[in-house]
Assembly symmetry: C2
Homo-oligomer: 517 residues x 2
């Protein structure tokens, strides 16, 4: 299952984190204002909560509001300083802890709770509860929320592990991490615990203070135990607004990413679109749907990129065997009567129409229209398998057909070379498209050659019957390089310009390293 | 909106048609047996209907069953003959019409309805109903069913139009067809009509009988009008089982595709998987969900193909500038100390980990582990920007760093050439992966060169700061061909084997056609 993390790209996670931050900040705002409004959940909770906030804003508790503002004014600058000088500091200055302690003392001695009706934490239970089996009746209602927590928690853990694994030179197994984090969440579920995953800041801190083994975890746990058992009742008078401020301050990072979006847009428009889509969906709808939409949208973007790929005519680089894009480079020489077309993507069902359209447009020759205008008008028998000039596609030998000159009206090319170097795969639909192209151009007297096919495409061509088609230039497999194809086309033209359908001389260069095919 | 049809691949439509055929055949079975069972709809209706059929099978009406069997025995063979000799027949023999007429007469004169309690059509209303505005209250419950009908109908119409457009040599505009079919369904909705779309058989028939203009539609309509107004009451005694048989017989085509799946599997496993997934979902769940699942699954298959693409080391073809896959061809010569790695797919977030893994595996060198085992053990300062041997990545000149021999422990290569010829695009994550690769290999003394990048990747490299990185071999853009990169690497090794971090001599061949960049 470790493969799930693969689909969580950086822009997606970034948008999700920002969206979640906005959602959490929204849910904390009522504590900052000391308002008592119901908690909204599900679709649209973001907007509903803000509507409620503004509707009840008259009831703001001035004491809570002032406390929040003061706390914000203290914590934010100190945390910014912490970040700026983090390289010089062994550990960041624990400003939140100080503020919490100070606020508790002030609230206690000035009795904010009774005097100003400030919301305080109240009684905090200490000690442990008896371990019990989790309440199964809650599972259906929690499952949907648990899924993104698990996926995100896992993805964060693995990426953290990889960062440190890289630093210290060891390999990380995603599946092992998954089992570990699964156990970390499974066993504590009997003890009323939070879902756990790796935390960047804490890991960095431990690494920088020299922790090497799991013993450091034992020390941390003992300190926490102390707090749980004896210290927490001391926080009775702590205002909930202070807790809200601490939460919000620590989520600033998510908001700061808004600043990065213009730069991101310059680098990649699609990545930015993914970021915004994920962010908006996880804010305005729900976080789970936001994550799902983000994953789907990011995958769709990959598909979009392949739907209208670059497609260009190539020209030859002077005195070399290299062929390059005529649109991007000057000083390339075209080859008379030969067009070389490069489609920079795998050919499959969703771009086959585009392939044909752009091929016809770039070569300036639509063989279907040409064949129809030449041949079919004269012989409109429906359903016949005759092509232009009535030459049958198969079954009859060339000798019986009408004289060749009527059959070769083709404008300024006799050969079309398709450079398949950038095609990773072709599916069955793509193969049909190639075959149709081959057939359509043959109808108007243009031979179609393939070049640069990779082994898997060659195999597909062989199995799909490209090689098995009735004789002619299509009968052979593809050429290894464009140059081979060009040489073959030129030599054939030169050698026998009239009897051009003779069995093609297999180019020598191709044979000598085609041994294992 | 014409773009929707692009996502409906052939295997997808095939699976959908078979799934729908199964669903419809299931819904007709009760008429064949003369059973009265409620109609199931929604998820699982296929299974529920079959369960009901077997539960009530004792109540089968023998008269209906016999009629069905006789009708099947007559219609199927004649239709098969029709198909076999369709080229010799002007129009197929109208066996269904004959059977319907004969069955009506028999049922009427032998009074099947009263004597055997056979289910008959009963009163069929004639004439037209008053045109009314469609009932808007039904819209919510119909919308979900209407969507796939609209999409499939449109896709069928466009593909039919393209088949005949190609035959007669005219271009088809998908958007124009969409408007046409939209009007054909919008206006009749005021007259209690069926949803309409193009039908293959009827179009073929009309084309083969020489129809050229829309006048033929007028003739067809007049005949239908005749039936509607005066003839239909004559079918009072027609058994519904006969109608069921006619429906089922015409859906045989969908079932016949099961026979094609083994051949399909040989040609393309993924296409077959799409076919089965769509078929099973549209049968067992609902047709709409089946279509949706099919579209998503087909797109996911495209993604799957790009996640673990072929990746190979290339070798040089003797005496030529061509480099080919060492795994697929024999007699290729490797170049000493240079490895050429080809990744046959765009590099993006979902395959970047695979890219690194397979690169390390093929080259037999994991630079991260090597660098860590050499350098980091000695100097474990956390967060430092130092690489192996403590050579700083930037800011200090080469002269200050420790002697080079400790820094070049690399096994059997000094240059890694990445052939990007098959990459259509790289996203920001892919770019980072390339940069990391470059950096990691540089740490262990291996220079990384790119070759064969297309113009859009070059631009991405430029914008993303590949060229801007501190000096060295990574400072330049990519080479046009693998051969250029190999020559550059060899000349640099030969020329100055010690002072290897000098500014790289820009290869001459590259310059002379890099004018417009």
């Amino acid at each position: 299952m470790g493969f799930v993390a693969v689909y969580l790209s950086e822009p997606l996670l970034g948008g999700f984190v920002t969206g979640s931050s906005l959602t959490i900040i929204t849910s904390q705002m009522k504590y900052l204002l000391g308002l008592k409004i119901p908690r909204h959940e599900g679709v649209g909770s973001f907007i509903l909560t803000w509507v409620d906030l503004f509707r009840h804003i008259r009831n703001t508790n001035i004491c809570d509001l002032l406390t929040s503002l003061v706390a914000l004014a203290i914590i934010v600058p100190v945390k910014e300083l912490n970040e700026r000088y983090k390289e010089r500091l062994k550990a960041p200055f624990p400003i939140e802890l100080l503020v919490v302690i100070a606020a508790t003392l002030i609230s206690h001695y000035f009795d904010f709770e009774r005097r100003y009706k400030a919301a305080v934490c109240g009684d905090i239970p200490t000690g442990f509860r008896k371990p019990t089996v989790p309440d199964f009746s809650l599972f259906p209602s929690l499952a949907l929320d648990a899924l993104p927590i698990a996926v995100i928690g896992f993805a964060m853990t693995v990426s953290l592990a990889e960062i440190f694994g890289k630093k210290h030179g060891y390999a990380v197994s995603a599946n092992q991490e998954m089992i570990a984090i699964g156990m970390c969440n499974l066993i504590p579920s009997f003890f009323y615990c939070f879902a756990s995953s790796a935390a960047l800041t804490k890991t960095l801190l431990k690494e920088s203070t020299g922790s090497q083994t799991q013993v450091s975890g034992l020390v941390t746990s003992l300190v926490l135990l102390l707090v749980l058992l004896w210290i927490s009742p001391l926080f009775y008078s702590l205002q909930t607004s202070i807790l809200g401020v601490v939460t919000i301050v620590n989520l600033r990072g998510g908001l700061r990413r808004f600043r990065d979006t213009p730069r991101m847009w310059q680098l990649s428009k699609l990545d930015t679109a993914v970021w915004w889509a994920t962010m908006l969906c996880s804010t305005l709808v729900t976080t789970e749907i936001g994550l799902l939409v983000g994953v789907c949208f990011a995958l769709l973007c990959i598909i979009f990129r392949t739907q209208r790929p670059r497609a260009t005519l190539l020209g030859r680089v002077r005195d070399r065997e290299v062929y390059e894009d005529q649109a991007a480079y000057k000083q390339l020489s075209s080859i008379s009567n030969i067009k070389i077309f490069r489609f920079e993507c795998s050919l499959y069902y969703a771009n086959k129409d585009y392939f044909k359209a752009v091929l016809y447009q770039k070569t300036g020759l639509n063989p279907v229209l040409l064949a129809a205008s030449l041949g079919n008008r004269a012989r409109p028998e429906p359903g016949s398998s005759r092509g232009c000039c009535g030459c049958p596609r198969q079954g009859r030998s060339r000798a019986e057909s009408p004289p060749g000159d009527a059959c070769a009206p083709s404008p300024d090319m006799h050969t079309l070379i398709l450079d398949c170097g950038a095609m990773q795969f072709i599916d069955t639909v793509g193969l049909s498209a190639l075959k149709e192209t081959h057939h359509d151009y043959e109808e108007v007297g243009v031979q179609v050659l393939l070049a640069n096919c990779n082994p898997s495409i060659r195999q597909r061509l062989r199995e799909g019957g490209w090689a098995g088609r009735a004789g002619g230039a299509g009968g052979q497999l593809a050429f290894h390089s464009i140059h081979d194809a060009v040489q073959f086309a030129e030599s054939r033209r030169r050698g026998d310009s009239r009897d051009k359908r003779a069995a093609p001389p297999e180019p020598e260069e191709q044979q000598d390293f085609q041994v294992s095919l």
